[in-house]
């Protein structure tokens, strides 16, 4: 079954067209990385998949039109990790993660012990249990991001949508997060769709990559198919040298700066 299926999807902001004729299918249990330069439509695509924006063309989640779901159902189906978490009020990390359990209990009741357990496990997985009781705004960018991922996990979703999840993370935590995603995908069959900007990391962790260019799908396939010197030249306009890592057998980019 297709977790996500988009058929001839187009979208424009006011009069600025962003996506043109996107047709994309993500099977259940797939791990897909969306690549592309800024403005290519990555975030917009994720927003349409997560039900925030409505484009022209059909979007189906698990073979049901996205518009037929109500919001609580959607929130149990998928979770979204956004780029910039910004919270205006003093909540602790634990409280933020617990909010992910919102649709699992009555709005008039408090969280159950099971909810607390799920939250605790999620924080443990993202190595954020240590600052559970600290206020979110006191944490570093990377720590905040891990809390947000924990919240997404607490929703116990089937699909995880991430928008540049490693943007603020240091190297160690970047690797940690991607390894976690890989594990969740392999052990629990979690469908993962992530917008990424680091091509090398994308190549290492994601079995399938979709390269967007000017709102269209330029290339869709395995890293070795998508990350070619010609593709990079066409889409990003820079010259690179692709070499294959002997250990992982994945393509890695080497940049050739014009000045050196």
């Amino acid at each position: 079954m297709n977790a996500i299926h988009a058929e001839n999807l187009s979208f424009s902001y006011q009069d600025r067209p962003v996506l043109h004729g996107i047709s994309l299918s993500v099977s259940c249990g797939e791990m897909v990385g969306i690549l592309g330069p800024n403005g290519s439509g990555k975030t917009t695509l994720l927003k349409i998949f997560s039900g925030i924006l409505r484009g022209i063309g059909e979007v189906r989640l698990k073979n049901k039109n996205i518009e037929k779901y109500n919001r609580p159902e959607l929130s149990r189906l998928f979770a979204v990790v956004q780029q910039e978490p910004r919270v205006n009020f003093p909540y602790s990390a634990a409280e933020i993660v617990l909010m992910g359990r919102a649709t699992y209990h009555s709005p008039l009741a408090l969280e159950t012990p099971h909810d607390l357990e799920v939250a605790r496990t999620s924080m443990d997985r993202t190595d954020s249990l240590g600052f559970a009781n600290r206020y979110l705004h006191e944490l570093s960018g990377g720590e905040k991001q891990r809390v947000m991922i924990a919240r997404a996990l607490a929703q116990e979703p089937e699909i995880l949508l991430l928008d540049e999840p490693s943007a603020f993370l240091d190297l160690k935590h970047q690797i940690q997060i991607f390894e976690l995603l890989l594990r969740l995908n392999r052990e629990r069959g979690l469908t993962i769709v992530a917008a990424l900007h680091d091509l090398n990391v994308a190549a290492l962790f994601f079995p399938r990559l979709v390269m967007l260019c000017n709102g269209r799908i330029h290339r869709d396939g395995a890293p070795s198919d998508v990350l070619t010197e010609k593709t990079i030249q066409d889409v990003y306009g820079i010259r690179v040298r692709i070499e294959y890592d002997s250990a992982t057998k994945k393509p890695q980019l080497f940049i050739r700066p014009s000045l050196s």
Partner: protein, 345 residues
């Protein structure tokens, strides 16, 4: 993991409720005039001075103060969530300004010749609070229309239209202040600075019913309010329909504020300060913050009114002056002590 649990809910709310009852009792017994409590209680149903002071002059005020303090505090909490701004307060919506202006216009332009008609019965209806409420409704509709885009109320637009409407109303009130006579000017001051002076149990009962209803409804939205502070997109992903929630909260709080200002004038500071103080003390989870703020707001205004009666006895200060005068420095003190550690401003 320290999060909100039943124990905390029950503990905090019970403590505040006890404090509220004690405050209500104390404020009914305190005042610029000394009364003999045993005398008063003995003659509770007959008309002696002490009994009348207790039952007719003080108790209605105390009860009204609790309702309005609680209502203002609760509206402050939800507006801060709605506008995603810790500095939001009920006065910002323009509704209280509209209510004041409506009341002032009613005061100045009321056709007094109408009153003797219908056998003098017309005089028994409180026309001025009705005029104030109409003013509140008008402002609410105005700000609503200016902020509604594609089914969503944009916090930025609400704030902006509210501020502009307030400035405009302030200008009109200043103008009216310059053309009214001395006696009407006193009435103007009531609207601008507030007063809990009342003897009408009917009014108090009505306001209690109204505010309690509003408070309970808003309390039921506590979880959704938590989620909406994460941002509209994040809230959507967690099951909330932000557009509908925003509209409902805006209308509910506007109606509450309109009613409160119509009855007691503009009493500021409660809606800004009490939510913050409670956040500093018990956290930002709205499921606890709402009832706690309601109770704390009631306690605060109850005492503020007592001070208003006592400070410059026999004169009565407008209660809005007391709330600002004592509330401000106390809040700054609290902020200094704990705010830098925990307030996300």
């Amino acid at each position: 993991m320290k999060v909100l649990d039943r124990k905390k809910m029950i503990l905090v709310n019970s403590a505040l409720l006890i404090l509220l009852v004690l405050s209500a009792a104390a404020c009914t017994l305190l005042g610029p005039v000394r009364i003999d409590l045993s005398e008063a209680l003995k003659n509770i149903f007959s008309s002696t001075a002490d009994a009348e002071i207790l039952l007719r002059a003080r108790l209605p005020r105390v009860l009204l103060g609790i309702a309005i303090g609680g209502g203002m505090a609760v509206c402050g909490v939800v507006l801060q969530a709605l506008l995603a701004n810790p500095l939001a307060c009920p006065q910002m919506l323009g509704v209280s300004g509209g209510a004041s202006l409506g009341g002032i216009l009613g005061l100045i332009f009321f056709p007094n010749w109408l009153l003797p008609l219908a056998g003098g019965r017309l005089g028994e209806i409180s026309w001025i609070p009705l005029a104030a409420f109409l003013g509140a409704l008008f402002s609410m509709v105005l700000v609503y229309r200016f902020s509604l885009f594609h089914g969503r109320l944009h916090p930025y637009h609400i704030l902006l239209s509210g501020v502009i409407l307030n400035s405009f109303i302030a200008a009109v009130i200043m103008f009216l202040n310059s053309i009214v006579d001395f006696y009407q000017a006193q009435g103007l001051l009531f609207w601008l600075m507030g007063s809990l002076s009342t003897r009408a149990y009917v009014t108090v009962g009505f306001i209690w019913f109204y505010i309690l209803l509003g408070f309970l409804w808003l309390w039921s939205k506590g979880l959704a309010l938590n989620l909406i502070t994460l941002g509209e997109d994040a809230a959507m992903h967690l099951g909330v329909e932000p557009g509908a929630l925003q509209r409902q909260i805006f209308i509910a709080s506007s109606l509450m504020i309109g009613a409160m200002v119509s009855v007691s004038g503009m009493i500021g500071f409660v809606g800004l300060m009490v939510p913050h103080v409670m956040r500093l003390l018990i956290g930002s989870d709205h499921r606890l913050l709402l009832p706690a703020s309601f109770l704390a707001g009631g306690i605060f205004l109850c005492w503020a009114d007592t001070l208003a009666r006592v400070l410059l006895a026999p004169a009565e200060l407008p209660v809005g002056i007391v709330t600002a005068f004592f509330g401000g420095p106390f809040f700054l003190f609290l902020l200094y002590r704990e705010g830098r550690r925990s307030l996300a401003l």
